[in-house]
């Protein structure tokens, strides 16, 4: 059982608090999306987990031990932090070979991960000739080198083409299915929604949510019904009587906020208003995320960043009183 445990982790750069008393766990066997606006502390947290930066206070462990305590850490934890970090003048293969040798990883793994990342043809090319997408693939290859139980990826789909995005999505889901711990930071909500099972959301260095994707969307979105009718005027009157508002969504479609399809269906049937279409609208992760982070987004100047972030807004306050 190799989980990541972050416990009361705090990191200050001068007076700026990049990570503020953060506590969460990342469990194996699922993909955990690590979300938050720019400057929320995601990358800092990943660096703290890897022992690259020293925490001001608190701890971060992998499998119960600090990262630096592992004799050959690449065999336990694979990480992609910054695809641009690899030295441009080295060939892809030499870059991976130096990493493999330092952790006594068999050199055939180098060729295996190059193959897996689709880089075999450019293995002997210098990294500076690579596109961002190819560098990203190389960074992912490096993360997989030691066949690790824990995989940390910071914005892995950056610069990837559509095929690459499908590849990385399948890869992450596959790693989780094999029982590995997968933590993936991203700022792309629709993208994250396609691969994450669980979410850890940061805002201003603080934990805003640590919950399953399904619960997160349910808790941070309003209900909405989408309808089409041949008689909007009568539907509007009927709804108004029940305290609902019919809003024009354009294109002959109408929406009702804060209602469920069964309520509207029953109401319309009772009033004899013809409905051509009626459905509950699923809120997207993006909408849920924006609702949560609207007030926590970091627009403040450095120095005020240490001010307490808004606590997560309870979902109920989003819903109009029925």
């Amino acid at each position: 059982m190799t989980s990541i445990d972050v416990h009361h982790l705090t990191k200050e750069y001068g007076t700026r608090r990049a990570v503020d008393d953060l506590t969460f766990g990342v469990a194996p066997g699922r993909v955990t999306g690590f979300l938050g606006p720019n400057g929320a502390g995601k990358s800092t947290t990943l660096r703290l987990v890897l022992g690259l930066d020293r925490p001001t206070s608190g701890t971060a462990t992998v499998g119960g031990r600090p990262y630096a305590a592992y004799a050959e850490p690449l065999r336990q934890v694979g990480a992609l932090l910054d695809a641009q970090a690899a030295h441009g003048s080295r060939t892809a293969r030499d870059h991976l070979r130096a990493l493999a040798v330092s952790n006594r990883i068999a050199s055939r793994r180098v060729d295996e991960v190059l193959e897996e990342a689709g880089l075999t043809a450019v293995a002997h090319k210098r990294i500076k000739t690579f596109s961002l997408g190819m560098r990203q693939r190389l960074g992912i290859a490096a993360a997989l080198l030691g066949d690790p139980a824990v995989v940390l990826l910071d914005e892995p789909s950056n610069g990837l083409d559509p095929e690459g995005i499908i590849w990385i999505r399948a890869l992450m889901r596959g790693l989780a299915r094999e029982g590995r711990t997968v933590l993936v930071s991203s700022h792309l909500m629709n993208e994250t929604a396609t691969f994450a099972d669980h979410l850890v959301v940061l805002g201003r260095g603080r934990l805003l949510a640590d919950t399953s994707m399904r619960d997160f969307i349910a808790a941070h979105s309003t209900r909405r019904v989408r309808a089409r009718t041949s008689d909007p005027a009568r539907l509007r009157t009927a709804l108004a009587r029940a305290g609902h508002t019919l809003e024009d969504a354009g294109d002959g479609r109408w929406t009702v906020e804060g209602a469920r399809a069964e309520d509207i269906g029953a109401l319309a049937a009772h009033e004899g208003v013809p409905l051509l279409e009626l459905a509950d609208e699923e809120a997207s992760l993006e909408e849920a995320y924006l609702a949560l982070t609207a007030e926590a987004a970091e627009f403040s100047a450095p120095g005020t960043a240490a001010a307490p972030a808004e606590p997560p807004v309870p979902a109920s306050t989003h819903r109009p009183e029925a």
Binding site: R47, L50, G51, L52, D53, R54, Y67, A68, Y70, A71, E72, P73, L74, A79, L81, D82, Q84, A85, A86, H87, G88, S89, R90, T91, D94, H95, R97, A98, L99, V101, S102, N103, R104, A142
Partner: protein
């Protein structure tokens, strides 16, 4: 972690970077080229001078080789800082003491091997042009100068390694060290006795003299250079251990 594995990885990193490998080869190449050029043209005339110093003069081209040695020691470390590759390196080898010791050892060993080959080759190549003025390795101080010259080049490479780790920038180190060696020490050093003879290059080059003048003997001078290098390496270690990567 396995020390051998980390040493091997550091060697791969050096040898797979043209920018690091070239200065290392240039230590040998530049020294030898300048030696051949100088001795083939003005070698005999110089050797005929009344104030000629056959052992020291044989290592004239080491002034060029040492610039390459500084370049090698600098780029071996600055390659970790230009793109942020240090984070990748430290994620693979999180024990920073081991990482730094391995890098220092590989830089030192490579520079020493190339340095020794360079000083012996330069000495022998130069003498080949001198005819009746030529001296052999049996000449007093000649063998000591050849061995010392190799050590001196290795110490200069390591001085740059320590300083680059401290300053995290190859440009900063080279623009500090090269003018310092070429101008301050080269020009001022000849004039001033006193403190100048304790500068890393002046002190270390005492070993190239058959009969060193001044306060420092041959090995004493090299020891002073070694102290400068040790101080730079310790400063680099202090910085690497303390800083966030």
């Amino acid at each position: 972690m396995s020390t051998t594995a980390v040493l091997h990885a550091e060697w791969i990193k050096i040898k797979s970077l043209r920018g690091t490998l070239l200065p290392l080869l240039a230590v040998f190449g530049a020294t030898l080229a300048v030696t051949v050029l100088a001795f083939a043209t003005v070698g005999r005339a110089e050797a005929d001078n009344a104030d000629a110093e056959p052992v020291f003069d044989a290592f004239y081209a080491l002034n060029f080789g040492q610039i390459a040695a500084l370049g090698f020691g600098t780029t071996a470390v600055s390659s970790e800082y230009v793109t942020g590759a240090l984070r990748i390196s430290l994620a693979a080898v999180p024990r920073r003491g081991l990482f730094y010791a391995a890098k220092t050892a590989v830089v030192g060993a490579a520079a020493l091997l190339v340095g020794l080959a360079t000083s012996f080759a330069a000495f022998l190549a130069g003498q080949a042009f001198l005819g009746e003025h030529a001296i052999g390795l049996g000449h007093p101080g000649a063998l000591r100068a050849c061995v010392g010259g190799g050590l001196y080049l290795a110490l200069m490479a390591l001085l740059a390694t320590g300083l680059t780790t401290l300053l995290r920038s190859g440009v900063a180190v080279l623009s500090l060290l090269i003018p310092f060696l070429l101008i301050v020490s080269f020009v001022v050093g000849d004039v001033a006795g006193g403190a100048a003879q304790f500068l890393p290059d002046r002190a270390g080059q005492q070993i190239l003299h058959e009969d060193p003048a001044g306060a420092l003997g041959a090995w004493q001078g090299l020891a002073v250079t070694a102290a400068w290098t040790a101080a730079a390496l310790l400063a680099g270690w202090w910085a690497l251990r303390r800083r966030d990567a």
